[in-house]
């Protein structure tokens, strides 16, 4: 590729190029690498790799804990990164993750398992003889036999705070405008997806609304009967958490509204009735509490560190899948170009995670078939 000054910049090639290192992208890239494939993960934000950007609530994919924890094809390390940093209400099928810790552990994992990490913001994509070519904002180009898009809501993403609309799928994120235009030029068809994210409190209010009851969240890792939380190589800073004061303590505390949610409160937007509503701790290094969307009206008197907002972004083709199986699915949107995670219709963190693994399965099959076809020659 020319960079406009006459110097040759060669595109570097890999079998698979995953674009976007969020929940689904890290799962997909890591899974492929764990199966010996040559995979590069290009992401705009290596410092927040794998972060569940929006909330610490890890919602079930539909079939509950079993489905999640089974993960027969889940590569070693991926589940641990999530579950060792997750607390669950015993017996329930959902949990609260320490987003920060998960991110650090996931980065450790993808590095360890052999993913080629690269920081870069994808701005173009084009079909080329070798497969797909992705260009970045810094003028780099990468080619791959198969490209996987896992850029979340950043395609056409914008967010609404109150009445106002801002660019970016989340506050502060650069939207993928160039990538969107290039995909449209290739004939990609999109639908609009929308989701609400709740606000964060910087501290708990002095008086907790009476309809919230205090619950203890137990480390999900111990539920699995193996891994224990807090076994990372480093001891981390501690927020002023009341019950879970010590990282890796037996339990953290949350405040839950009875299920089904409060009559009249606008709490169930876009979420199913099995979804818990309440105040959730946002990780061990911060004093922040995540507030379920709709509850903000009820929790007054505590300072807000982040406002709630609505995100709109584009999703590949068709209705957003309602069926559980499909929600964890992945789509081949053009030959050799796959979409996973939110972009493929996965509505929750856990669904995105499973979608990433499903995508790795599908892509592995494609690559192995091609290798098989090539081999005899």
């Amino acid at each position: 590729m020319e960079d406009g000054s006459g110097a040759k910049a060669h595109a570097s090639h890999s079998s698979v190029l995953v674009v976007g290192g969020g929940v689904s992208g890290t799962a997909c890239a890591g899974t492929l690498a764990s199966r010996g494939l040559d995979v590069r993960l290009l992401s705009g934000a290596l410092d927040s790799l794998g972060v569940a950007e929006y909330s610490p609530c890890f919602l079930p994919a539909g079939a509950g804990e079993e489905r999640l924890l089974l993960g027969s094809k889940e590569p070693a390390g991926l589940g641990r990164a999530w579950f060792e940093n997750m607390w669950a209400l015993p017996g329930a099928s959902w949990g609260v993750v320490d987003r920060r810790r998960v991110s650090i552990r996931l980065k450790e994992w993808v590095e360890e398992i052999g993913v080629e990490l690269r920081q870069g913001l994808a701005t173009t994509i084009a079909r080329v003889p070798q497969g797909w070519l992705v260009g970045t904002a810094f003028g780099e180009s990468f080619t791959a036999e198969v490209a996987v898009l896992s850029v979340g809501l950043s395609l056409g993403g914008h967010h609404l705070i109150g009445e106002r609309e801002f660019p970016g799928a989340r506050i502060g994120e650069v939207p993928s405008e160039g990538l969107l235009q290039a995909l449209k030029a290739h004939g990609a068809v999109f639908d609009t997806g929308e989701e609400r994210v709740g606000p964060r409190l910087w501290r708990l209010p002095d008086s907790i609304p009476p309809f919230l009851r205090r619950v203890q969240l137990r480390p999900a890792g111990t539920l699995r009967g193996g891994a224990k939380p807090g076994t990372s190589r480093l001891a981390f800073g501690r927020g002023p958490r009341t019950a879970g004061d010590q990282y890796g303590a037996e339990y953290l505390e949350a405040w839950l509204a009875p299920t089904p949610p409060l009559a009249g409160a606008d709490v169930a937007v876009g979420q199913t009735s099995e979804c818990p509503v309440g105040l959730f701790p946002d990780g061990a290094a911060t004093g922040e509490w995540y507030v379920s969307p709709g509850l903000e009206q009820q929790v007054v008197g505590a300072p807000l560190s982040r406002r709630g907002y609505v995100v709109r972004g584009l999703v590949f083709g068709g209705e957003q899948a309602q069926d559980t199986q499909e929600r964890c699915a992945t789509r081949e949107v053009m030959e050799g170009l796959w979409a996973t995670g939110w972009l493929a219709g996965a509505g929750h963190t856990s669904a995105s995670l499973l979608s990433g693994i499903a995508c790795a399965d599908a892509v592995e099959r494609v690559i192995r078939q091609r290798d098989g076809r090539r081999a005899p020659r």
Binding site: I104, K107, E108, F138, G172, V174, G237, S305
Partner: protein, 642 residues
């Protein structure tokens, strides 16, 4: 939720920026009891280190120690987060000794965030400060980009590299405060409308590569050291396993690669317009500026304990990414290094610092303070030092209390701020020991003795902390007195010992204090010799011994600097009343009058350092000051006296 009305949210102090300057400012202000809000673009990115994974070094380390001595957080935080620490220049004089630590970047952020979370009076708000509400040259409040209004009379701007930020590689660029993060594009215009002049600077960061793909066998290992203390005066860091750095050098091959591609540098092609740092130059600039050097050092530094990413200090560049890869692979030990994050440059608006007072408040808009990279500096330590001072002064100002200023003879922090606001900057400013004229007094080892009293008076340190410093000062005096009053004579054994240390024997009796002035005589040995000859010097901890030794050894120089300070103090600290009419002074040059009128120095010392103001001008100014009847104060109330 609260409505976006002007009455919405009220704070005594608002800080914009969760970087190194902003967190110190917010912590200082809230610890001093002010209701404080820290507004930042992302609550997930607090105290992020966007460039080198290290705190300290010569000059910078002194700043961190001073921050700690005043009750700031940077020293304690790096003590929690370091993965390697060492004392630099142990073979040189105490003035240039300093700690340097490699940080685990993620841990550094997390432990800082945990501290913020546990601090009373402090709230964090995710958002972008988009407009300042100024009327009659006074700050009234702030508008956030999402429409909220924060009512406040005191605001600390600590926006780092984000104001109209743009990141650049080769001839590519896009708006960003750092890679992947949106810039703050709105505030600059509002500041300019309020009469604040902005300039444009540029800074760049080197590439990061996969540490598993470097060849350490071609490099020099740079291990850490087992030290008893860390940066903090107040807590002893827990021991830990340390991670090494590696040193390699660029080769002729590297230089040739750079030279061949210089035409692609954003500096040449004009993609970059801001001025960059001379003292942290890119590899391109080093090769242009020092053609005679056939190699430059490259330090390979870990980015953390849970990642394989390593930082290539010395290979800063914003050349196109494929050229970066060529440069890396032309460097011994990095032939196969795999690039993870390309180096890049960032260009941003800074506030021309001569518009600030010595307490970092704008001279144009009262209540507007600023600190950090936005004042034209570079570096975490420089940022944190200003953040602390701006935070303290914002807190004082919110209650109508006189500002807190450190002099050039009290702290590197004083040197830093005086340089910035008096001389201005024409490139990002970085601290060096050579900038301090009294560096033998402003040592790394005595920061607490110099500054803890201020910290305690400001409410940033506990009484007990100050007491510990006073106790040590007392013990140092006690031991010094003992050594000076204890005479040693040769008993055969003593001279033999002295000779074995490589120093001459004594013929006349000498005091232990005299012997300690000899560079070959270590205090620990001397104490042993004293005990052997029947004296009992008592037990003292390491810090006391260190102070006594340094003072004995450098006594001559220290006394000379102290005398110099005393000589200059009268003029240096002579206050100039805030409303002083510089424009009516007769008998000085037009240039001097213009500059004095514009810069409005707060002290005679500050006036004397303004370029274009001569000693003759200062004498005339002094005369006018006498006449103006500002007598009474022989020295200034402006510079804080312990």
């Amino acid at each position: 939720m609260k409505k976006a009305s002007k009455e919405g949210l009220q704070y005594e102090v608002v800080v914009a920026g969760g970087g190194h300057a902003g967190v110190e400012a917010a912590l200082a202000s809230s610890r001093m009891g002010r209701r404080t809000a820290l507004v930042t673009l992302s609550v997930d990115k607090i105290a992020l280190m966007p460039c080198n994974p290290a705190i300290g070094g010569v000059g910078k380390g002194q700043l961190t120690r001073e921050i700690d001595a005043l009750g700031g957080e940077q020293g304690r935080n790096i003590d929690k987060a370091y993965i390697q620490i060492k004392m630099l220049n142990t073979s040189k004089g105490p003035a240039v000794r300093a700690l340097r630590a490699q940080a685990d970047k993620r841990l550094y952020e997390d432990s800082m965030k945990a501290v913020l979370s546990a601090t009373a009076n402090l709230e964090i708000i995710e958002g972008e400060v988009a407009r300042v509400d100024v009327s009659r040259e006074t700050l009234r409040g702030l508008w956030l980009h999402d429409g909220r209004y924060l009512a406040t009379r005191t605001f600390v701007l600590a926006s780092g590299t984000f104001l109209r930020g743009k990141v650049i590689v080769g001839n590519c660029s896009y708006p960003a405060g750092r890679v992947g993060e949106l810039p703050a594009n709105h505030l600059s215009r509002s500041l300019e409308e309020a009469g604040i002049a902005l300039g444009r600077f540029q800074s760049a960061t080197p590439p990061r590569v996969d540490g598993r793909t470097i060849d350490p066998s071609k490099m020099i290992v740079q291990p850490g050291e087992e030290l008893r203390g860390g940066f903090s005066h107040w807590e002893t860091p827990a021991p830990r396993t340390q991670v090494p750095c590696y040193l390699t050098y660029t080769s002729a091959n590297t230089h040739q690669t750079v030279s061949e591609h210089l035409h692609l540098s954003p500096l040449k092609s004009g993609t970059v317009s801001g001025k960059g740092p001379r003292y942290c130059p890119s590899i391109d600039r080093k090769i242009i500026n020092f053609p005679e050097k056939d190699r430059h050092p490259v330090f390979v530094e870990p980015e953390g304990a849970t990642t394989h990413e390593v930082y290539l200090q010395g290979l800063t560049t914003s050349l196109p990414v494929h050229v970066q890869e060529l440069i890396i692979s032309a460097t011994p030990g990095l032939e196969r290094a795999r690039l993870i994050r390309p180096g890049y440059a960032v260009e941003y608006d800074y506030l021309i610092p001569e518009q600030l007072t010595l307490w970092l408040e704008s001279k144009t808009v009262s209540g507007l303070f600023s600190a950090g990279q936005v004042n034209g500096t570079s570096g975490y330590e420089e940022a944190a030092a200003q953040g602390l001072i701006a935070g303290i002064n914002a807190a004082l100002s919110a209650r109508g209390v006189e500002p807190f200023i450190l002099g050039r003879d009290q702290a590197y922090i004083g040197v830093l701020i005086d340089d910035l606001v008096t001389k201005g900057v024409d490139e990002p400013y970085r601290m060096f020991t050579s900038r301090a004229e009294y560096r033998l007094l402003l040592r790394h080892d005595n920061a607490d003795e110099r500054l803890a009293e201020f910290g305690q008076r400001l409410g940033l340190l506990e009484e007990a902390q100050l007491q510990a410093v006073e106790n040590r000062r007392h013990q140092v005096g006690e031991l010094q007195a003992f050594l000076d009053s204890t005479t040693l004579r040769d008993d055969g054994q003593l001279n033999a010992e002295l000779e074995s240390m490589g120093t001459s024997p004594i013929s006349e009796p000498q005091t232990a204090g005299q012997l300690l002035r000899r560079p070959q005589v270590a205090l620990l040995d001397l104490m042993r010799m004293l005990e052997a000859s029947g004296h009992s010097p008592g037990r003292y901890d390491e810090k006391v011994l260190e102070q006594v030794e340094i003072r004995a050894r450098y006594d001559g120089y220290i006394q000379r600097q102290l005398a110099e300070i005393r000589r200059h103090r009268a003029t240096e600290h002579r206050a100039i009343p805030p409303g002083f009419a510089f424009d009516s002074i007769e008998g000085i040059t037009v240039e001097a009058r213009d500059k004095l009128t514009r810069l409005r120095p707060a002290t005679l010392g500050q006036a004397s350092r303004i370029a274009g103001v001569s000693p003759a001008d200062i004498s005339v100014l002094l005369l006018h000051l006498h006449r103006a009847g500002s007598e009474g104060a022989g020295t200034s109330a402006a510079i804080s006296q312990p």
